[in-house]
């Protein structure tokens, strides 16, 4: 039984559950308020924007690339959407047309990154780093440094703050779920569906696993990779619009350098940065875990100056645990196969 337990902990989800259990034990002792219902809602709301971007970048990482320009894409998308919405007096149709144009631009920018990566076989790290500079620079051309302050009504406000529905939770208080969490859930559902259920998802895993094999089984690898970058761009755009609505301001600083958090979530989520391995569930767990760390640090009022250090150490520990556990579990798996081979 013991061996089975070790192998269970070794598996990816085994580790994640152990990490969560550890945190729950610590919090049960130190600050039980962690278990209050609206603390969960608060964490979900906190990772809404990061979660949408994580889903986007997951597509590019799966095909063996990466997208450092998600932060800048979110910024320019928010700026354009709200600029156009503002010129039409924040009418719903004005806001929607603004969003449409902004997301279209993100599609194009994503496609440009994808083409550069595939046509010249460039490392995605460098291409998207360059795109980050270019897109961030162009935000100023759109906004001239001004900020759009969406009014506290209309669709442009609801996207970031509207309580969609609230679940009565006994004792009179209600757990109200805001729009960003709904958008996150919808985006996660769609991405999970695309990656697990559709042929496009299968193709991405094949391309990430072994691009030659993908080509030989009739997959147009390069076209699909460009598609992945476009999806990453659009989802970054959606995240930007949502963030600007939540903040009540859209401009140069919207989602500045947000790609750092997205990378952290990917890494903690156990997504293989070389491609071909990792799912939406893992990536979202990564985002959730980073959100939980920040939440715990505030609840335990960890001293301001050591917060960055604690976050760094916890992530490093999670990665090291992941590596040793993975090595343990693949070893066990090999023994099982050898036995099965012999028996048959």
């Amino acid at each position: 039984m013991m061996k089975k337990a070790i192998r269970a902990i070794g598996s990816a989800w085994g580790q994640r559950i152990t990490l969560l259990v550890l945190i729950c034990i610590v919090m049960a002792i130190a600050e039980p308020v962690f278990f209050k219902l609206d603390n969960y809602k608060s964490i979900l709301l906190a990772i809404a924007v990061n979660g949408v971007m994580v889903c986007g970048m997951l597509f590019t990482v799966l095909v063996g690339g990466m997208d450092l320009s998600v932060g800048a894409m979110a910024g320019i998308s928010a700026s354009i959407a709200y600029r156009i919405a503002e010129s039409s007096g924040f009418t719903t149709s004005g806001f929607l047309s603004g969003c449409a144009l902004a997301l279209a631009l993100c599609l194009v920018a994503g496609a440009v990154s994808g083409l550069l990566v595939t046509r010249f076989a460039l490392p995605a790290f460098v291409v998207t780093l360059a795109m980050k500079y270019i897109v961030y620079g162009s935000i100023y051309l759109v906004t001239q440094g001004f900020f759009v302050l969406p009014p506290a009504h209309g669709l442009s406000y609801q996207v970031g703050n509207q309580i969609v529905f609230s679940i009565p939770v006994g004792g009179g208080n209600k757990l109200n779920i805001p729009m960003p969490v709904i958008i996150l859930i919808i985006v996660v559902a769609i991405c999970a569906f695309v990656l697990v259920k559709t042929t496009y998802g299968r193709k991405l895993y094949a391309i990430g696993g072994n691009k030659n094999v993908a080509n030989l089984v009739g997959i147009k690898s390069n076209a699909n990779i460009v598609g992945a970058f476009m999806i990453s761009g659009v989802l970054a755009g959606i995240a930007g619009i949502m963030l600007a609505s939540m903040n009540g301001q859209a401009g140069q600083t919207t989602a500045l350098n947000y790609e750092g958090n997205v990378l952290m979530a990917m890494v903690v989520g156990g997504v293989n940065l070389a491609g071909g391995e990792g799912g939406v569930a893992g990536a979202i767990f990564g985002a959730l875990f980073v959100g939980i760390i920040n939440n715990v640090m505030v609840l335990l009022s960890v001293e301001a100056t050591i917060q960055t250090f604690v976050r760094g150490i916890v992530i490093l520990a999670a990665m090291t645990l992941n590596m040793y556990a993975r090595r343990g579990s693949t070893g066990a798996m090999k023994i099982k196969i050898a036995k099965a081979d012999k028996a048959a």
Partner: protein
């Protein structure tokens, strides 16, 4: 083939030497001469700097001799370099508007806005850039009070007046420091909040990112006042990463989770964005009715409107729009008279205390009336 490598190496060296040989020796004092004559730094550079909390309006000893005289500010071409920590934020947008509105009347004045991208080394580079291009004045939003000292000395020595504003005050003597009033705004904010909430209760501080603490001292000012003068308990001090409103909203939500109704009396926010995030969190948690007093900084249009709507208790208002407009003329005055800390024989940096006064529900309407920033409301450039 080997020859090629050697030639390539030689070329690199020749190129480097070529630069030096080909340029003419600059006429005014090169930077070689003044790097050792340590300008008389005010003594508090080592150890904790005591902030000029109350030193209002005390200008250093004005030089007696006649000033060398500068340019004719109406005809001569004038270039002013405005170096800010980052040109991306709302506040910086407001300064540029204020300065541009004044510069309209002086077509011969060129305002050159430079972004230091939160990088202290880049601020030094930009100051040296201004010296090389012989700008007439530098308006500096200084990020690290120590890092820019040498560069400022060079600028002043080159006859370029350096006016530091809105952020940390560089320790070296320079032409003028328009007190960013961050420390005093935090201090006075504490006073006002105590007036509103009485002398007991709890306080939460949503402060600037940890690495900005040396430069942005509003949170420290508030904490100093509360701990030294009141028995209000300081229950939370949270750094808000990147001054981001969304991060402020998340941290405030976590604080609300931790402390039940009535356990939080006041929240001091180090910037308008952070105050905005805190308000959104309180509204979203449905606890707006608890009367948690939120105190902001700098008097953004958003803050003024929130105070008017009662979502916010108040803010320390310094009409930065008029302040920067005035700054434009101060700069022209320095250029016209050739006054710098050296020609003026200063031994300490004159500081203009920014008139700060609290804005609360009762005086918010007339403040809106005369606040340049709110009046123009041209946040969006209309």
């Amino acid at each position: 083939m080997r020859r090629m490598k050697i030639i390539a190496m030689l070329l690199v060296l020749v190129m480097a030497v070529g630069f030096i040989a080909s340029c003419d020796k600059p006429k005014e004092t090169t930077n070689t001469s003044n790097n050792d004559n340590t300008a008389s730094n005010n003594d508090n550079s080592a150890g904790a700097p005591a902030d000029p909390t109350a030193s209002s309006g005390s200008s250093g000893s004005t030089g007696t001799g006649a000033l060398p005289g500068g340019k004719n500010i109406y005809e001569d071409p004038i270039k002013i370099s405005v170096i800010s920590i980052s040109t991306a934020g709302i506040v910086n947008r407001m300064y540029q508007m204020a300065l541009n509105d004044q510069a309209v009347r002086y077509p011969n004045v060129i305002l050159d806005y430079k972004d230091a991208e939160y990088d202290p080394s880049k601020q030094v580079t930009l100051i040296e850039e201004a010296i090389t291009q012989k700008y007439d004045c530098i308006i500096l939003e200084c990020m690290d009070p120590v890092g820019v000292n040498e560069a400022i000395d060079k600028a002043e020595a080159a006859g370029i007046p350096v006016i530091s504003t809105n952020a940390a005050e560089p320790f070296t003597v320079h032409s003028l420091h328009v007190a960013g009033a961050d420390y005093s705004s935090g201090w006075k904010g504490g006073e006002e909040l105590v007036k509103l909430a009485g002398n007991e209760g709890t306080a939460v501080v949503l402060d600037c990112p940890a690495s900005f603490k040396p430069g942005a001292r509003m949170g420290t000012g508030f904490e100093d006042y509360i701990t030294q003068n009141t028995n209000i308990r300081l229950i939370e001090q949270i750094p808000i990463e990147n001054w981001d409103a969304a991060v402020a909203q998340t941290s405030m939500r976590d604080v609300l989770t931790k402390y039940g109704p009535g356990e939080i009396t006041m929240v001091y926010c180090s910037s308008g964005d952070i105050a905005n995030g805190a308000m959104n969190a309180i509204d979203a948690a449905g606890r707006a009715d608890e009367g948690i007093l939120i105190w902001g900084f700098m008097g953004y249009p958003m803050e003024l409107e929130a105070i008017r709507d009662g979502r916010m208790a108040g803010t320390m208002f310094s009409d930065t729009y008029t302040q920067y407009a005035a700054l434009f003329y101060i700069a022209l005055n320095h250029i016209a008279t050739g006054l710098t800390s050296i020609t003026g024989g200063y031994t300490a940096t004159p500081a203009i205390e920014q008139p700060m006064f609290p804005v609360t529900k009762d005086n918010v309407d007339d403040v809106m009336a005369f606040s340049g920033w709110y009046m123009t409301k041209s946040m969006n450039g209309k």
